[in-house]
């Protein structure tokens, strides 16, 4: 298939950036979206041009590095990561717009690559437990109800890709933050710091200049890991409880 790409090119943080059109020929429907970009980059390199910078690592949908906005949708038309999106989701002759995540908290470093350090700082603010872990305890030493374990595990599948922020009309990072709060808050090990954690993480979230959540739901609709929208309500419940009990720091 032949594809027309309109890709965001931006030399550096301070460069203004613009959309540039490229033709990519002989694309196989079995290629992943990133492989299609590889083909484009080989051609650009051979022609003596700068290749398009994009982030990627595992290429198997688990590291969260690869997100871009494709035709206006974070990670493109399938609910999966960009690396797991295949060209069979497009048609011969399609024009495809490729843009970086756009949020003040995620500044563009180059072309399609953004700095997602803001997420790391939210985790550093409270997304951990400080109990000494040692070796793995016996499985029956600390019983966890199955439903809680499942919910914690589902929330823990968040790969920190940032699609939720990219899709949100308010550029809010609440789904990511809620996934972490839910993951730790459902397990016994997460309890001692539970009340303080949610306050610290939400404060950090706000300090990073993410927008406020208005429960629109675009985040959960594009999340490649299916983090459910109700984790945000769980975060709100923890937060209101924590603030009501005297705002632990």
């Amino acid at each position: 298939m032949n594809i027309t790409l309109r890709v965001w090119r931006q030399k550096s943080r301070d460069d203004e950036g613009r959309m540039v059109t490229y033709q990519v020929e002989d694309v196989s429907p079995d290629m992943s979206f990133l492989e299609m970009l590889d083909v484009l980059n080989e051609k650009l390199t051979l022609d003596g041009h700068e290749p398009v910078a994009f982030d990627h690592d595992c290429r198997e949908g688990i590291c969260g590095a690869c997100g871009v906005v494709i035709n206006g949708v974070a990670h493109g038309p399938e609910t999966t990561t960009t690396c797991q999106l295949h060209m069979r989701s497009f048609k011969d002759g399609d024009v495809i717009d490729v843009e970086p995540w756009r949020a003040k908290a995620f500044p563009v470093i180059k072309d399609l690559v953004v700095d997602r350090g803001a997420f790391d700082r939210i985790i550093q603010a409270g997304g951990y437990i400080s109990a000494p872990t040692g070796t793995a305890p016996d499985a029956h030493a600390m019983p966890v109800p199955k439903a809680d374990a499942d919910r914690a595990f589902d929330a823990a599948t968040c790969i920190g890709c940032g699609a939720c922020v990219a899709a949100c009309p308010n550029a809010s990072g609440m789904l990511f933050t809620a996934a972490k709060v839910t993951h730790l808050g459902m397990l016994p090990q997460g309890q001692p710091e539970r009340a303080a954690r949610v306050v610290k993480m939400v404060n950090q979230h706000d300090e990073e200049d993410f927008g406020g959540c208005t429960n629109i739901g675009e985040c959960a609709a594009v999340c490649p890991k299916g983090i459910p929208l109700d984790t945000i309500s769980q975060l709100n419940r923890d937060l209101l409880g924590s603030l009501a009990s005297g705002n632990p720091k």
Partner: protein
């Protein structure tokens, strides 16, 4: 975050007010006597514990405070959203995946609702705007006004805006206060739609009854 909670609570106060107000309006079908007595009664409520119109003024202060807090929080969140995705960082192509029209119109819709509330108070409370003729009787004000098609039309537009605002607002308030669970999400949305429809239609029944000559 405190902003969002304040928004949800003040929004809920306003919704409760709307339901009571709508119910009161339906008394128009009881005729002039019933409706005007109801209006007078609102002013006498709580007497002699409260002075004349005392209860009404408490309500007015609570409602005004709610609207101010609500609008302040809305504008602050609005500005934050603009800062979070500044002008130089807009998408060239952006598609919504599932977002509702109601969620899309919360901000400007809210502004429309406030403008309407001002117009509405000038019309039926102070009667400074009196299409069809002013009157000391609340019943007659309603009948005089809603015999005119464009007055009814203006209320239809405003109540559609209110309906959409409530559709997303009720759902959003419950989610903000921590009430959304995966298993409830669907029913919450259905309840929000249902309540919005009841309020919108309930408010529109009296104007149409007048326009169609059922209430004279």
């Amino acid at each position: 975050m405190a902003l969002k909670a304040a928004m949800a609570v003040t929004g809920a106060i306003l919704v409760l007010f709307l339901i009571a107000h709508m119910y009161g309006n339906l008394m128009i079908f009881g005729g002039p006597q019933t409706f005007d007595t109801y209006s007078a009664h609102l002013r006498e409520l709580g007497e002699p514990m409260l002075p004349y119109e005392g209860f009404l003024w408490i309500m007015r202060v609570v409602l005004l405070a709610s609207v101010l807090v609500h609008a302040y929080a809305a504008v602050t969140l609005w500005m934050r959203a603009r800062r979070a995705r500044p002008a130089g960082q807009r998408y060239h192509t952006k598609k919504s995946v599932q977002r509702s029209y109601a969620s899309y119109t919360m901000r400007w819709g809210g502004v429309v609702v406030v403008l309407f509330v001002i117009y509405h108070i000038l019309h039926l409370t102070t009667n400074d705007i009196a299409p069809g003729g002013a009157s000391a009787s609340p019943y007659e004000r309603v009948v005089n006004g809603f015999q005119i098609w464009w007055v009814v039309l203006s209320y239809v537009i405003a109540l559609a805006a209110v309906g959409f605002h409530l559709r997303h607002g009720i759902w959003s308030a419950v989610a903000t206060l921590g009430g959304n669970r995966a298993g409830r999400q669907r029913s919450l949305n259905i309840i929000a739609t249902g309540l919005s429809l009841v309020v919108t239609i309930g408010f529109l029944i009296p104007p149409f009854a007048v326009l169609l000559g059922l209430v004279k």
